[in-house]
């Protein structure tokens, strides 16, 4: 049994200044197992992975590789040992082609003198082929964020490694891509490769992993065989208390408006040259509306078009019964309509600015006084209130957002949206990377907002979330709304059906 352990970590400590990210954690990884790592946002999961990959150095502790203590000084050395890591945050070279990104490590250690672009692209195409239709010759900067995530995964799959670490790889993937990934993971595990899998989705852990280790607040809690334990136990171990992870109640009759009040949002015949056409839908008072679809279907584009963030759209939009004539996103914010981006690192947060400064960015009027100067106390107040409401784990409000864990960064992005008391919020992958407890909390906040009359539109690639949170789901396929489900019909099967291209004919039948 012991011979089977490829990686053993004991009593590892790591601090960032005053923040004690890891406080004596243990971790054991066996050959050929898929080992899940669970814990709340900021529990220290990514920090441990960065230490294993040589990006960070531990303050103290022992890392044993095949039974011998090692110190891993850099990613290069990790690579030599046979460790591969898919980062939680996408880290690709935007000016370089997809193929070169995928084979960057290989290029780095290759003893070949010359690049063979054609071979590189062919190989990239065959690897990408199983995941999605991405042209390997494209520059990464031209890819949407979800495709970038797939490139990250493809990149990891090319590594010739003994231990593969996946840090929340499915956060922005739809069911379909996720399932492909799981089958690849199982195949690799069968070949004897060990996989560390980090996710906040319990279903994924319980469907695909062999064992699970739980961290809480930088401390090791337990390691269990998945077969011997229930999802609720894992959640309880993560949070340290019993949490209610159920989705909030759906819309009640009294939440809705009488027939006389107009819908919050009324979109008619919205089109854009290339990305979508003829989009019409309404968002009723009290309702949480979902947008489902495959990667690249155009959901984000539609919503960004409504907010005037991107593209040159035509069509009519009314908010609370008044037709909108907004020309910039600034106008949209003033009208009370805000958009939470799916790409938090790219356009969601200011990484090198403080948490407080991030939260007040949407409307500085909130923290300014009449003469236009910033009231530091009000800025702190605003940030503190929202940080508490969303349960953000931080050291000081003046710390840069880059020092937060991924899930906490996402919460800052959400706090920013809530700061302006909007009338209508579009949330693109709102719980990307957020832990179970906080996720339930966010869902409750959304429902409360909807009850108080705020319009909520959620785009999510996680179907259970859509089904759990939304009252009604619109399905987008190739830039068009291909159908709508609500109530009893809101099942994963029905949504997938409407979303997938293969069943286009069926879908038309159904919506007719």
């Amino acid at each position: 049994m012991q011979d089977d352990v490829i990686l053993n970590i004991s009593d590892l400590h790591k601090s960032f200044g005053a923040v004690r990210a890891l406080r004596g954690v243990n971790f054991e990884l066996r050959r050929g197992e898929i080992h899940a790592l669970a814990g709340e946002n900021g529990a220290g999961k990514s920090t441990l992975m960065n230490i294993i990959d040589g990006i960070l150095q531990p303050d103290s502790g022992i890392i044993c590789w095949n039974g011998t203590p090692v110190s891993i000084a850099s990613p290069t050395e990790a690579q030599k040992l046979g460790i591969g890591l898919v980062h939680q945050e996408i880290a690709l070279c935007p000016d370089v082609s997809v193929a070169e990104n995928i084979f960057m490590s290989a290029t780095n250690i290759s003893r070949r003198l010359l690049m063979d672009y054609r071979a590189l692209e062919d190989r990239a195409r065959s690897i990408l082929g199983q995941l999605a239709d991405i042209d390997p010759a494209m520059l990464v900067r031209d890819l949407p964020i979800s495709h970038q995530q797939l490139v990250e995964i493809a990149k990891a799959l090319t590594l010739d490694c003994k231990v593969l670490i996946l840090d929340e790889p499915t956060a922005a993937l739809t069911e379909r891509e996720a399932q492909i990934l799981f089958s690849i993971m199982r195949r690799l595990a069968d070949q004897g490769i060990s996989i560390i899998y980090i996710s906040h989705r319990m279903v994924e852990i319980f469907d695909n992993c062999d064992r699970v280790t739980v961290f809480r607040d930088g401390q090791y809690i337990t390691t269990q065989t998945v077969a011997d334990i229930a999802p609720s136990d894992v959640v309880n171990a993560m949070v340290g208390r019993v949490v209610d992870t159920l989705y909030p109640d759906k819309m009640r009759p009294q939440d809705g408006a009488s027939d006389r009040t107009p819908p919050i949002l009324d979109v008619r015949n919205l089109s854009e040259a290339q990305r979508f056409r003829d989009i019409s839908f309404q968002l009723k008072r009290g309702e949480v509306l979902g947008l489902a679809g495959l990667i690249g279907a155009g959901r984000s584009e539609i919503v960004k078009g409504i907010c005037q963030l991107e593209g040159d759209v035509s069509g009519d939009i009314s908010l609370n019964g008044t037709p909108l004539s907004i020309r910039t996103y600034g106008d949209s914010i003033r009208a009370g309509m805000v958009y939470l981006s799916e790409d938090r690192k790219g356009d969601g947060v200011f990484l090198d600015m403080s948490i407080a400064e991030n939260i007040s960015a949407l409307d500085l009027g909130l923290v300014g006084n009449r003469v236009g100067t910033i009231d530091a106390a009000r800025e702190t107040d605003l940030a503190e209130t929202l940080a508490a409401k969303l349960n953000i784990k931080y050291g000081r409000l003046s710390d840069p957002v880059s020092s937060l864990s991924g899930g906490n960064q996402q919460k800052v992005a959400i706090a920013k949206m809530l700061s302006v008391d909007p009338k209508l919020i579009f949330l693109d992958e709102p719980t990307r990377g957020v832990d179970v407890g906080a996720k339930a909390e966010i869902h409750r906040i959304l429902r409360d907002l909807a009850r108080s009359g705020v319009g909520i539109v959620v785009i999510s690639s996680e179907l259970p979330e859509l089904i759990g949170v939304c009252d009604r789901v619109l399905v987008v396929r190739e830039g068009q709304i291909s159908g709508e489900v609500s109530g009893e019909d809101m099942t994963e099967e029905n949504i997938m059906h409407l979303a997938s291209v293969l069943d286009a004919a069926d879908a038309q039948l159904q919506s007719a």
């Binding site: 200044g17 963030l309 910039t328 996103y329 600034g330 949209s332 914010i333 003033r334 958009y339 981006s341 790219g346 356009d347 969601g348 947060v349 200011f350 990484l351 090198d352 600015m353 403080s354 400064e357 960015a361 949407l362 409307d363 500085l364 009027g365 923290v367 300014g368 236009g372 100067t373 910033i374 530091a376 702190t380 503190e384 000081r396 409000l397 003046s398 920013k416």
Partner: protein
Amino acid sequence: MEKSINLAPPATQGMGALKKLLRMRETGLILIILALCIGMSFASPYFLTWVNIRAMVMAFAVEGIVVVGMTILLISGGIDLSVGSVTALAMVIAGWLFLQGIDPWVASLISIAACTGIGAFMGFFVTRVGLHHFIVSLAVMVIARGACLLFTGGRPIGLFTLPAEFKFIGQGAIGPIPLVIIIFLIVVLAFDFMLRRTTAFRKVFYTGSNEKAAAYSGIRTKKVIFLTTTLCSALCGVAGIIYMARFGSAQPTFGLGMELNVIAAAVIGGASLNGGSGTIFGAILGAVLLSVVSSSLALLDVSVYWQDIIRGSILLAAVSIDHYLNKRRR
């Protein structure tokens, strides 16, 4: 100081003023400058005389106004290589208009307006055409220098006949303190305050830190960049007018190489060339550092053949020490 209020975490608000000071980005630089000054006051009995201090401050005060504009531009993510030529052009236009018989105050306003126009021209190419600040301002640097030559035929314009009230801007003093220094201090304090505290200037930081995220926060980033570019040139115009009043002449070759000096001051003071961070206070400390080093070498009669080597080495050492101190403090 304002910054510490802004940045001080709740837990530390009870800390002593000293600790607050030690947290500031600028503390390292202040210490380095103090160390230099203390060393110099032993090395030369003249260093701490009022005349010497006045000469040192006068040497960077007007350029300091340009440093302010450059720092704000750098924070927004831009850069401007044309500051030297535009400053010279401001002198030349105002001087030329004055010689055509126009009232010097009106001539100055026209000249500052012209410089503002140049800034807007650059801002247009950056935000509408989509070119990089570097290349646009390089082209404008050449064009503005050419315009200086064209206005003057390459010869300095003598403006001895400028009225005394006008020359007072550059040569007068209130009590013992030259008006130039007073203007400089007002500009620095005003912009330092605005940059730290006003909502309008906060947008400059957002834009420079992550232009896309700023746009996704409803900030009209192109407008911000356009305005910072314009402001920088406008401040060059102001500086040019003060120089004209101070020197009583307009020199077409003025300000050659000024851009590197000005950018260096801002960068030493903590401004990032990638945008998103920097302070006026820090940038001015950078200018002070450069000036103190130059003045000290001149005062000590260091051989010219050694001056550049020493100057560059002190610069490198100071920046390294400052970097080290900042890293440690965090």
